[in-house]
């Protein structure tokens, strides 16, 4: 059993879509987007780019649909873009909330 599993593993390693090829690493590196958003969970909202976050949310939303429309469907890609859209959207909301509070602070400031 162990040798069969080991054989399957090494067959996959040396295959044309295995970890020695770009076919494997290109989709894997897509996961760095949601991982980056997790790393920046508490990023200072003043340093979040509103435009970039909007674009990343739209990008992931569209690719969620694309992952289900291609043949064969890729549920892993769908999940990755779902996480990315949610996490990048959280950063966008963080920035928008901060901007709104800044605006409110300016309006509430007593004028002498």
């Amino acid at each position: 059993m162990a040798s069969k599993v080991s054989g399957m593993f090494w067959t996959w390693v040396h295959s044309s879509t295995g970890p020695k090829t770009t076919h494997f690493w290109a989709p894997v590196c897509n996961w760095f987007f949601p991982i980056q958003a997790l790393y920046d969970w508490n990023r200072d909202p003043a340093k979040i780019s509103k435009e970039m976050q909007c674009v990343l949310v739209c990008y992931s939303s569209l690719f969620m649909r694309w992952a289900l429309r291609i043949s064969p469907q890729s549920y892993i890609l769908f999940c990755m873009h779902l996480f990315n859209a949610t996490l990048q959207g959280r950063l966008l909301i963080r920035r928008l909330t901060w901007e709104s509070s800044q605006q409110k602070a300016i309006e509430d400031k007593p004028t002498n």
């Binding site: 770009t22 590196c29 435009e51 739209c58």
Partner: protein, 117 residues
């Protein structure tokens, strides 16, 4: 999902003033009523957003995000060459994305802020 887009496509294509080539474009399987048309535009959006962010101070540039954009762009440029069919527009799109990411990282490096969040 709810059948809205095919209905919209039928409604638009029913207008008589479209020339034949426009109707063919609207009805094509990679036309503007399918997801395959909009996904490359979304990727171009990342490059355009990055170009827009070049006028912002480097403190607002997210180093890790730009590393991910540059690395993903470079790897997908290579991936687009090895898949079938080879789509050169996607190659250019991913290459531009990588270049904008690398330039943002260069801007941060020039001011010695590459490793500051």
């Amino acid at each position: 999902m709810f059948g809205i887009v095919p209905k919209l496509q039928q409604y638009v294509c029913a207008w008589n003033f479209w020339p034949a080539f426009m109707k063919r474009f609207f009805m094509s399987e990679k036309g503007p009523f399918t997801i395959f048309f909009w996904t490359p535009l979304a990727k171009w959006g990342i490059s355009i957003a990055n170009i827009g962010d070049m006028r912002k101070p480097v403190e607002q540039v997210n180093t890790l995000q730009q590393c991910v954009i540059a690395w993903t762009g470079l790897l997908f440029t290579r991936w687009c060459f090895i898949i079938t069919p080879r789509v050169y527009s996607l190659v250019i799109c991913n290459f531009c994305m990588a270049q904008t990411g690398l330039y943002q990282l260069y801007r941060k490096h020039q001011q010695g802020k590459l490793f500051t969040r």
